[in-house]
Symmetry: C2
Amino acid sequence: MSNPTAAMITIGDEILSGRTQDTNMNFLAKELTARGIGLRETRVVPDVVEEIIAAVNHLRKRYTYVFTSGGIGPTHDDITADCVAAAFGVNIDVREDARAILAQNYANPEVDLNESRLRMARIPDGATLIENSVSKAPGFSLENVHVMAGVPSVFKSMVGVLLPTLRQGRAVLSLTVRAGMPEGELAGPLRELNEAWPSVDIGSYPFNRNGSFGADVVFRGDSQAELDQAAAALREYLGDRELPID
Amino acid sequence: MSNPTAAMITIGDEILSGRTQDTNMNFLAKELTARGIGLRETRVVPDVVEEIIAAVNHLRKRYTYVFTSGGIGPTHDDITADCVAAAFGVNIDVREDARAILAQNYANPEVDLNESRLRMARIPDGATLIENSVSKAPGFSLENVHVMAGVPSVFKSMVGVLLPTLRQGRAVLSLTVRAGMPEGELAGPLRELNEAWPSVDIGSYPFNRNGSFGADVVFRGDSQAELDQAAAALREYLGDRELPID
């Protein structure tokens, strides 16, 4: 069985305006990679109903899993849950199990669980809840779409609960060699390695440190032996121009 | 004339694997916002020909500008320029002006400007070059698609050259008030402000610091007077629960 695939949708004008540097995508990407779930595409979309619905519907049909981040809080600009319900064509309303979880947060839920906070108990029909150990208000999964909060601490908490429940893939092995020479000199040798080990995926990621160009060469594949062989061949080529990885 | 709109495409398996935390999107977002160019959507796509072509063709028809980051180096996995040419259905080959720019980088261009490096002089027909003050190899603009490098220092250099040449919009004014209370209590008052100043866009961005929840309330719009009025109303509501912005 081939590895599961995934896409991520980040909902948030604050990311698109540059006000906030997103970090949830990188966190999720690492977690998925470690579990052999291939993140194939990510999108950031604005707080606009039609855009969110279109992205959810396009991506949920293409990938095993879709993960969303953001827009499930209590304020008027939190529209993700309603959009996901609309994308699936199902009803959404305050659900008793979600309301009960929210109520645990408050000494006086009759007063504190106001109309705005109750918005966070609005769950599409047929969804299952994703626990939030930080601030209670749950995320939810509807079929293959997993809806989580944008606040990084809450997002991480939800990912930690959710991922072990999903189908895992075979983790892709990887091995990195750092080259202290510009990509322009490396490119020829890398092309030869690429031809010699066709089942090893070889990526070259250039960097510029203190004015010197170098590149991290990442070997990825299913066979540790092949990664080791390809890396050894590169190391032989580099000689003392291999740099330590810090 | 309404403000220009924009989308960004980041090309890179290393972002999707979680190996690299992207920062180019946030940099570009801030620069565009400051110039009144509305970034409406961003995507990260893998190093896969069909995915890059599909994203370029979808987004270039929807937005005033499309910016790409990544995949224009000398190695076998650098396929962005060819994909952009294919998206437009135009030819791509080594171009003399780009080759001449690259040659400036080398003491001995006859030798150093090897086959791999010459890949960086491959420019689609009809494109104009984007200067790279860091490492010479240029980006390019083809119609409304602006193709830039992924290395952050080079990306920044290219954005700095490119943006002043594009149509600017009217910068959206913004004003932020930090509330030391959870969004669940703020949501009602924010909804009232939203109704009282319909032309002011009010976003609430929650945070969790040292276990305390708060929210940055961002007012955006064209009228400084209205932003000031809406913010003053929120400040009156918050009283001593307004927090300083660090």
